[in-house]
Amino acid sequence: MNKICKWTGVVLVSLIFGCNPQKAESPQDYSYQVPVDYYKLNNGLKVVFSQDKTAPTVVVAVYYNIGFRIEPQDRTGFAHLFEHMMFQGSENLGKMEFVKLVQQNGGVLNGSTRFDFTNYFEILPAHKLQTALWAEADRMSGLAITDDNLINQQGVVKNEVKVNVLNQPYGGFPWLDMPQYANENWYNAHNFYGDLEDLDAATLEDVKSFFDTFYAPNNAVLVVVGDFEKDETRQWIQEYFGDLPSAELPPVADISEPKQTAEKVFTKPDKLATRPALAFAYHMPERNTPEYYAMGLIDQLLLQGDDALLNQRFVKEKGYTGSVDGGINLLGNMFNYNGPMLWMGSLIHDAEVPSDSITAVLNQAIDEFTSKEVTQADLDRALIKMRSDLYSNLGGFFGFGRADLLASFALFDDDPGRINLLEGEFRKITPDLLKRTAEEYLVPENRTILILEPTTEEN
């Protein structure tokens, strides 16, 4: 145990030289740089390559700069419903043909809608890259869908909401609920999954207008990760995407969130749940600031893993719950969003423990964290955990995790190369900044508490 603590400081420094401190005589390089090539087509489409020939597979991901935050105000859930429509038929591929094309060529595919982007991706055998690029360009060039397709997917999406929210205890708690309570600006505070009536109200005209507004090459990034040759890939991209017209993009919406000045506490009844639950959320420092990186490390020390302070207090010492879950951006990670965000945690507990006792333990733990100096050993541990998470992310889902970070940094910062600067940014954080960030942000005035109250008959 002591042995490991003593190392940690050494290890961080040794990363640069890549040697294991215990085996200095046989240095082994354990550092990693993500290969990144970045360019733009004349129509504004951003393109990122990251070559990696470990496996004969390739990831193709297209991210559009349209998330559920900025969907039309009378059409909650529309960004997500629209994502489903992107699988319903395009210029050259009819309904189900896109799905079959990928699957019959040995690949998997999916799409998802998040705060600040909607993505579509395929993971395929490497020699099918050209096929995937063609298909993504085809649906970027235009949709060809019918009323029947729309009605069908309204049914599918309503079933998605039912299975994930309406027919589930703790459905939407806290990932879908908390932004609606903690935020004030409609863009950040509406129901992203959508009210069933709004979903029903969507028309083909809405679909067309949404596509024309947001689904243009100059509002997107194309990422290719895996086993491919750059020159031919560039040629295919030029051939398939090069002639797509760019569009005039709407003015950027004001998604800023007013500064919170007093604690907010809400109770949500849940008729399916059997045990109470409590969630807490604090507004995050602005993205890419030193305080933002500091919060990433605070998250590691307070919430991530069974060594984290809140897990130690709530789980091991008090026995209030089996685990405290949460983090920064529950619908992704601390890198793939671009706007106001929450650091959030939640736990399910027994009825015998009142919510006040939960909040008291939370307050004590945070006081304890902010009142004493952050030790170098703690900071080192946070950095190691962060670095380990980052590498897992890069390898996650057969390279899709890497594509996700590259797409986010290209889309939001016009700089996918940031992927290789993250470790350095975290390493700049001092114990002092960590402490100051906790003191400034982890205060009740910056916090929303959401209490889930079971209203089942047995309670």
């Binding site: 085996k23 004969p56 040995g106 079933n159 703790y170 086993d227």
Partner: protein, 460 residues
């Protein structure tokens, strides 16, 4: 290791009806896929070690897979395997629980112990420079658990809370009932305990379960990722050589037979019905397993499969329907599971049965099947292209007593499946009239629909 070439057929999507449409480019020539090389060795106490260097990200995964789990729970001992695993994470004879957590965190990971029907897995995923230390930590947790009695009531209470939450969800309710009907009183049929059962456990029960079931002979240690092989071999030998040989691998398998019938579990006013519909089939050691598995992908086990195309993409009844061949040692079930809107519960059952019946009576087209084979071959490459996936594949082989040729011949065997065989497999194994159907839903609304479905079966 033998090279495998993926003979991916180039599927030409039928776009002929719209002559002006473009067809997708077919792509290039398939690249060779080689299964990652592995090194295997055994310690004198019977423990097996498999090391697979893979990839370039500086992380390493270590998994110690012990062939014990819920199957070894006695009568009235449901979740004793899980409680034992929980308590193993509460410290060793030389480290407190917090010291274990901190040690793992200082390597960039944590130790997890997962319990399944046949396997209990202690694993961690850390930065490469700490691989050897992770081995030591996992060995300590596995071999010298302190089993602190003072923590037992807290862990039991956590499990009771978890049980209560699980049983308030419709999917676990359906799965529990389905397994109970199929497997009866065998441990495979008892997947959730009662609070009373959980309350009954003592520290002696836990100690006994541990000493009866853990030991070197039942354990395979897998290492995958980026690591120094010589250093790892030395670390594993040092950390595990002293462990007791322990009990031999021993599984008492059930005799599962189809039990046709419909069971409705009432969930008043539920907006959806959770359907599970299936029956026992052959496990992976049977020669029919691969053709059956290909059949499953075509029928309901993929996005473009027939059942999903029908009840999701055509009818909009559901969001995430899926069929699965769910395997355990010496047993397996095939089932379709779907959460469907309440008012189309009967029609959903009808469409699922219709698709099964259709595949039983009509041989599928070559093109459709070729597409499914390509998909399965592509998934196979992905399954063997990450440290976690590689360990999963190898421990699957080990559990079911399959040799390396299962993997090296897998793609060839998938491509050998014929359309006639798919229909034969459906006829042989997937008779919807023999299936157990469990529906968790709003009984007052769905009862009549289910009756109508049963009456309509004769008309297929």
């Amino acid at each position: 290791m033998k090279r495998i070439t993926l003979y991916l057929f180039n599927i030409v999507i039928c776009l002929a009806v719209f002559a002006q449409k473009q067809t997708p480019p077919a792509g290039g020539t398939p690249k060779d896929f080689t299964l990652p090389e592995k090194t295997t060795f055994k310690l004198d106490n019977g423990l097996t070690v498999v090391m697979v260097p893979y990839g370039n990200l500086p992380k390493v995964t270590v998994s110690a897979v012990v062939k014990t789990g819920n199957i070894h729970e006695g009568e009235g001992q449901i979740w004793l395997a899980d409680i034992t695993a929980d308590l193993m994470q509460e410290g060793t004879t030389t480290r407190t629980a917090q010291e274990v957590s901190l040690a793992a965190a200082n390597m960039g990971g944590q130790i997890n112990i997962g319990v399944g029907p046949n396997q209990t897995t202690a694993s961690g995923e850390v930065l490469s420079e700490f691989g050897a230390d992770l081995v030591g930590l996992i060995a300590d947790v596995l071999q010298q658990p302190a089993f602190p009695g003072g923590e037992l009531s807290r862990l039991i209470n956590d499990r009771k809370r978890d049980l209560s939450v699980q049983m308030s969800r419709p999917q676990p309710q359906a799965t529990e009932k389905f397994n109970k009907i199929i497997y009866g009183n065998h441990p495979y049929g008892d997947i959730y305990p009662t609070e009373e059962i959980l309350d009954s456990y003592t520290i002696d029960d836990v100690r006994k379960f541990y000493s009866d079931n853990f030991g070197a002979q039942r354990t395979v240690v897998y290492v995958a990722g980026v690591f120094n092989e010589a250093e790892m071999k030395e670390a594993i030998t040092k950390a595990f050589s002293q462990w007791v040989t322990g009990p031999a691998v021993s599984f008492d398998v059930p005799e599962a037979v189809a039990k046709p019938g419909v069971e409705i579990l009432d969930r008043a006013d539920a907006p959806q019905s959770t359907i599970i519909m299936g029956l026992p089939v052959v496990d992976p050691s049977h020669p029919d397993f691969i053709p059956l598995s290909v059949t499953n992908y075509l029928l309901g086990g993929s996005f473009a499969s027939r059942i999903t195309s029908n009840i999701r993409e055509d009818k909009g009844y559901t969001y995430s329907p899926r069929s699965t061949v769910d395997t355990r040692y010496g047993a397996a079930t095939w089932y379709e599971m779907a959460d469907v809107t309440t008012d189309v519960t009967g029609p959903s059952l009808k469409e699922i049965s219709y698709e099964i019946n259709k595949l039983r009576s009509e041989v599928p087209g070559v093109e459709e099947l070729d597409g499914i084979k390509n998909y399965r071959a592509g998934i196979f490459v992905l399954q063997n292209s990450s440290p976690g996936g590689i360990i999963g594949q190898l421990s699957f082989l080990d559990l079911y007593g399959l040799d390396d040729s299962y993997l090296t011949e897998y793609v060839k065997n998938v491509y050998a499946v014929t359309p006639e065989q798919v229909t034969e497999m459906t006829r042989k194994y997937l008779d919807y009239e023999k299936m157990t159907i469990v529906v968790v839903g709003d009984k007052k609304v769905i009862e009549k629909q289910i009756e109508d479905y049963q009456n309509a079966l004769d008309n297929f």
